[in-house]
Subunit: 211 residues, 2 copies
């Protein structure tokens, strides 16, 4: 077999394939509905290999969570940096969370993650880290805005908490296809709240909005 090049890589690729397969299955069936056999089938390998690499089903699920988390953030941080001022960045966050990028189709996973976090320490850790990261970014953007005069929140810390929570709450509706809740509406509702909270006057320099 063609070695050297593959020797070290093939196993890693296999591992990666399994993780990706896990994500696919979990998205489809939910955490509770995911079986080792499903993962193996999706990855085109044996059940044995899944266990060989991850030790247990729980291990595979956990690895997939971590992967999701990183994936989402790398994607996000990269695009956020490309935006110009605080207003644009905030607007970008409103749109990203609503549906662009890796978040699409992930809100369902977050709902499941929250429920799991009630009992599974691993899930709890991932969700906490995710949440903290998001709030940190939000806080930074707000501080930037305060610094350059675009925002004037009466209490930035509270605004962060509220805006982050509002997003989660809207996400529930979005994930469950509440009639009348669309990504557009999500963005609109959140953005208006941000305007209220932060006293934004500038009309958000349109041209970036629905994209």
């Amino acid at each position: 077999m063609a070695r050297v090049a593959l020797a070290a890589k093939a196993p890693e690729e296999r591992r990666e394939r399994i993780m990706l397969a896990t994500i696919v299955v979990v998205r489809e069936r939910g955490f509770a509905g995911t079986r080792v056999a499903d993962i193996a089938r999706e990855a085109g390998t044996s059940q044995g290999l899944v266990l060989y690499h991850f030790g247990s089903l729980a291990g595979a699920l956990s690895a997939c969570l971590t992967m999701l988390e990183d994936e989402f953030y790398d994607d996000f941080a990269q695009h956020l940096a490309a935006e110009n001022g605080p207003v644009e960045r905030l607007r970008f966050m409103a749109e990203l969370a609503a549906g662009r990028g890796a978040a699409v189709g992930n809100w369902g996973l977050w709902l499941e993650l929250w429920a799991r976090a009630l009992r599974d320490p691993d899930s709890r850790a991932v969700r906490e880290s995710q949440d903290r990261r998001w709030r940190t970014v939000l806080r930074r953007v707000i501080d930037e805005g305060v610094a350059d005069g675009s925002f004037s929140p009466s209490n930035a810390a509270k605004s962060v908490l509220r805006l982050a929570a509002l997003m989660d709450g809207l996400a529930v509706q979005l994930a469950l296809n509440e009639p009348g809740m669309t990504t557009r509406k999500f963005t609109e509702l959140w953005w208006e709240s941000a305007v209220l909270e932060l006293g934004i006057t500038e009309p958000a320099k349109r041209g970036k909005s629905p994209r």
Copy 2:
């Protein structure tokens, strides 16, 4: 055996005991972790009886959901009616959701319900109905406030959506014991948002607040 009085009642009482036991177990172990055997043990009956009354584990879970929903609402509606004006009613909602009454310890269940609702139509129906009821009440209270001049939302429909969503989002933090999130903070954050959204000027006639 003492009949007549018990004849018709005993079975019903048994059934009820099983439903209550189901709630206890679900709260403790989560939906996914609840076994027929757990319910039977908690209720002090046989597994057979659980199935006899509810047909299946899913049936029992479903019955318990419905019961929870009603329980919460009866409790809520009753207390709400006792409040005086729209401002007091809104304040009451802020406090109830944060932790008084039947909601205590239930937010965890709601998180699980949301996750289940992604795939289980029964759960989805319960959650939708619950959500709609809550939003309807909120809307009614707001309309009252608009009518008597206490509130002046720029868009009542949107305010309802946002305030309801914010509550869900804050509930996630509360249910997961996010450090720094307490029932007091929950109420405070939500109330401030309501003030912003609805342009409340009146200082919420204290004396009802933390109760």
